[in-house]
Symmetry: C2
Subunit: 356 residues, 2 copies
């Protein structure tokens, strides 16, 4: 860590850790929080020095703009611990850059790389014991920035709060997913904020997702809002489909999140000699492939979801079932990406980042 | 008020009012808050009884879903005081209903009408002295609901907080507005949440609005995200245009807020014998009307904005100037709606609501 910034990270430790109250063999996703958090305030046009403080309540005026105008962006990351108890991150600079891309679109201040990385590393070193080593578990990391300034005028806040909180977590999804290809509701507009990890993108998905859940699906696959003909993403993950032996995913756009797992999967698959196409995928192409037997797999990819296989999908009141294959692309690619993440294999791409 | 609910509204008064610190002759918009607020919590599937408490900080866990997933909706209302010191609201049940429409789309619990109305009335009676009587001022009322439950899982919160805060306020805009007809960015998607007063709809507008401000405009007029050919709304207000003597506004849709000022203006104008058309308006029609001299007026309409005349607009790097007329529709309609709101005229539509 560069002394310039790290010197300034003050650490206020908890008196008593609550780690002994946690059952690391039965971790939910994102519901248990570690002892500390990183906090950094933006005020008078600049970010203050990051501080590590006990994890605890935030106090805000009722007029704080986060309550009214949705200025919030976040990232999802994971810290992994290997057999030697060393801590690893996966492509963390990509999260840092994307947080700033999101912030810019929401008219929020960008955060210097050093504040993000050095703050995160200092926090992880302090919370090292919280990183689970049980199978499929990791320390989920949630960096987020929100508008903490006051006022009912619909204009950007003059104050923001950057926080990193950590949660030892089990898998996001349990088992295979049944998804609904949405034909009425939409996640994002052309020229909108769909590419940003902005809070408002998620709230808008909950109601249509609840409708899908009532019909027996777990997630919605969003389609473009103009024609509902091209698949986009699933809100908590990007979508891959396999037709025969070709892996296909939609290109990123101003409507689709540039997922770090997504782009890593593309690179790993190409490296494995798998044919990969990044192009628009029409729902009709998927239906046709399902009907003629060439649709072999669908899966979601994201930091929280990792790689989540899809067992079938609904479209216009009809259900389509994916075949049960051995040696799926999903399983192979999941093994390869998690082996890199947990330091169980060589890292030929240079994606792993050591925290020490 | 029905005793059934009002019995349950507990009131905790401040010891010392801060009203004497306020300069009622120089009120900004939405920056000064009254002594008390109404608070009501949703937990275990139901709303608790509303409480009136001193206006003050709200304490939330860093994992509260409002920070991460944008579940927040709000309303904007005003309380007016007439020459007899009586308090008036304008079509308050429409705000109450729309808050629930917004909540439903954001997968948030709907609030019973009595909790909203009786809570609001009790609060206004307590804050009566805060309602300004200076010209163009009113007590701006901000009812809002946000996700207060915890968790990093991208799913609806299990807890919510409903708050009504009040702010004695001057005009939202000063003077006439120069607006930019947006051709790249968009406010909302077909099948999205544009019709809801959801926090995320506002954050997404700030960056494009900043770009417009840098070019010398104050507001953006949004167009449909598919073609950018049809005008929608301006984010903080609906848009009316006058071509010759016909007043035209876009129909509401799932992308456009069903503004209470908008629909009142339509009714008042019709009642005045003004020809009103509610239909799609293309940008080309506006340009053509500007070029041939038939474009007489443009104005915005909203609770905060009231009726805000537009002096000119930019489109594709070119500026168009609106004529300076005497006896504008904007001025006439503004007088008529505010005369009803402030109890300066008869209320033939039955819109005024007495708080006592």
């Amino acid at each position: 860590m560069s002394l310039e910034v790290s010197q300034k990270i003050t650490i206020q430790k908890v008196k008593n850790s609550k780690i002994n109250q946690v059952d690391f063999n039965n971790l939910p996703f994102g519901q248990v929080y570690t002892d500390h958090m990183l906090v950094c305030d933006f005020e008078n046009g600049k970010w203050s020095s990051p501080k590590i403080v006990p994890y605890g309540a935030i106090s805000l005026d009722p007029s704080a703009k986060i309550f009214h105008y949705g200025q919030s962006v976040f990232e999802g990351m994971k810290a992994y611990k290997d057999a030697q108890d060393d801590i690893w991150l996966f492509r963390p600079f990509d999260n840092q850059k994307r947080l700033n891309i999101s912030s810019k679109r929401l008219a929020m201040p960008e955060l210097p790389e050093a504040y993000f990385m050095e703050g995160l590393e200092a926090l992880l070193l302090l919370e090292k014991d919280w990183i689970p080593t049980t199978k499929d578990s990791s320390l989920y990391i949630r960096p987020f920035i929100f508008a903490s300034g006051n006022g009912f005028h619909a204009s950007p806040s003059d104050k923001y709060k950057f926080i990193i909180a950590c949660s030892p977590s089990g898998p996001y999804f349990g088992g295979k997913l049944k998804v609904l290809i949405e034909q009425h509701y939409s996640r994002s507009a052309n020229g909108g904020v769909g590419f940003a990890k902005a809070g408002g993108n998620y709230a808008g998905q909950f109601y249509p997702t609840n409708l899908a859940i009532q019909k027996g699906y777990q997630q919605v696959i969003w389609t473009d809002d103009t024609t509902h003909e091209y698949i986009e993403e699933a809100g908590a993950m990007n979508i891959f489909i396999r037709i025969n032996d070709t892996l296909i995913t939609a290109p990123t756009s101003d409507r689709i999140l540039d997922g770090i797992t997504r782009k890593s999967i593309i690179e790993i698959a190409k490296d494995q000699g798998i044919a990969v196409e990044v192009r628009n995928i029409s729902v009709h192409e998927i239906i046709e492939a399902s009907d003629n037997g060439s649709l072999k797999e669908m899966f979601g990819a994201g930091t929280a979801a990792v790689i989540s296989p899809i067992s079938g999908f609904g479209y216009q009141e009809k259900d389509y079932v994916l075949p049960e294959l051995d040696n799926t692309f999903a399983a192979t690619l999941k093994k390869q990406i998690t082996d890199i993440q947990y330091n169980r294999s060589a890292d030929k791409f240079g994606w792993r980042y050591s925290v020490k």
